[in-house]
Symmetry: none
Subunit: 235 residues, 2 copies
DNA sequence: CTCCTTTAATTGGTCTACCACTTAACTCAT
DNA sequence: ATGAGTTAAGTGGTAGACCAATTAAAGGAG
């Protein structure tokens, strides 16, 4: 028995894999571009001569990787192929692991420091413009509203983009919403601290502009200090 | 609008996610040990009050992560968790879009430095035992085989575990197999460098044991230097 | 002719019945 | 009492029917 086990991993191609291969070829051949809708499950099922269950499984698998997105009662569309594949993976794994808040924040801090350091070295002029715009949006939101968490986080996301590391940016995209949710629930962002935060953002942006890595990292570290302390308390 | 889109993936917990959480809790609570059979799909469907389709979807997803394995017409069993479970997870997707290797490696280095630093502060005695075991497994594999990449990476994964940050560990779990695949394809690991690597692993473990953070980080940095250079060349 | 309302067709989501295979219990000849 | 042969219950696999939401087409009022 055990000896024969070695030969067992041959695996015939399952119907699902066949379907995946077909859909994949439709995409790589350019017949299906990002944004296009897939033929309906019934049509595919009939065309490929298999049950709809198989089609659904195949779609689900591709959706799992972030290649497709199903819109209920509407259709299945093809996603962009830049980093979306990883994005789907991350969020799926995250659901299974159920991380604690402290780990999330600690990881965020680590990545932010890494990102801001990269940003000082790699930022383009366009990055600077985006950062400036994000900062202004934050400032504007503060003046008219109580809740500016979204704009706050968006600025940090732009820093990650300016760091020009797709993987890190994707990770930030996955982690930040989770942290944001807890922020809102615990009402972490005090009213009086917003102006202080705005100033810190400004200082960080300046450091990025001046390409002063050490200064940027230091400022970011100070900026995120409170959050880290806060997450320790919750723990 | 476009800015807020990034955070828009709010996600309400689907039935499938609920089931996954329940099955997971059965496993982590020890009620289901590796090798055990899951209750049948019908039983679960009745017990949890949902259709069998949902149960099947949940099982399929967990199977995808290597946590479960279904034996047709027989049952579903719980696997041990290992890096090999995730191996090849990306391989399906890679055919469509090859992720930026340099970003992957750069991110890995950043996280490894972060992890090893945490490990020096938080490692338990059990962590040390696991690291020791992983190191021995690596050494043993080197002596009998040419390919010890799995064991190499497993050691690094154990360091991430010793760092006691669930998020970072999860990210490593996702990134490492992908890097591993490229390693194998490009045949990066030279025969002569294996003993050198083993020694470096040993030194890192010692630094963790002695709780010398600075030394551990420095050693890790040196250890990963080649990989980073290599990824730059490929780029 | 235009715009709003209504209606019919189509979509993905869900459930249930049936299938082939496995497994364990049972029967019966030895 | 034992063993092989048989049978029945249980398993995951598959397909099709039905559901609610969406969407596009048809109809009618202005």
């Amino acid at each position: 028995m055990e000896l024969l086990d070695n030969f067992k991993a041959i695996e015939v191609e399952t119907p699902v894999d066949k379907i995946i291969r077909q859909i994949r070829s439709l995409i790589v051949s350019g017949y299906l571009a990002p944004g296009d809708k897939l033929p309906s499950e019934r049509k595919l099922s009939e065309k490929l001569g298999v049950g709809r269950t198989y089609i659904r499984d195949a779609i689900k698998k591709l959706e799992f990787f972030g290649i497709l997105t199903t819109h209920p009662q509407s259709g299945v569309v093809v996603n962009g192929t830049d980093i979306s594949a990883m994005e789907g993976l991350f969020s799926n794994v995250m659901k299974i692991e159920r991380p604690d808040f402290f780990s999330l924040v600690e990881t965020r801090v680590s990545m932010e420091l890494f990102s801001v350091q990269n940003a000082t070295k790699r930022r383009t002029d366009e990055d600077l413009k985006n950062l400036e715009k994000a900062l202004e949006a934050y400032e504007a939101k503060i003046k008219i509203s109580q809740h500016a968490e979204n704009e706050d986080f968006l600025f940090h996301l732009k820093i990650a983009e300016a760091g020009h590391n797709a993987v890190v940016k994707t990770m930030m995209l996955i982690i930040l919403p989770d942290i944001l949710a807890i922020y809102k629930k615990e009402n972490f962002c005090g009213e009086d601290e917003k102006l202080k935060r705005l100033g810190e953002h400004r200082a960080i942006l300046d450091a990025i502009k001046e390409k002063d890595a050490d200064k940027a990292v230091l400022l970011m570290q100070e900026h995120l200090k409170n959050v880290l302390e806060f997450s320790k308390k919750i723990l």
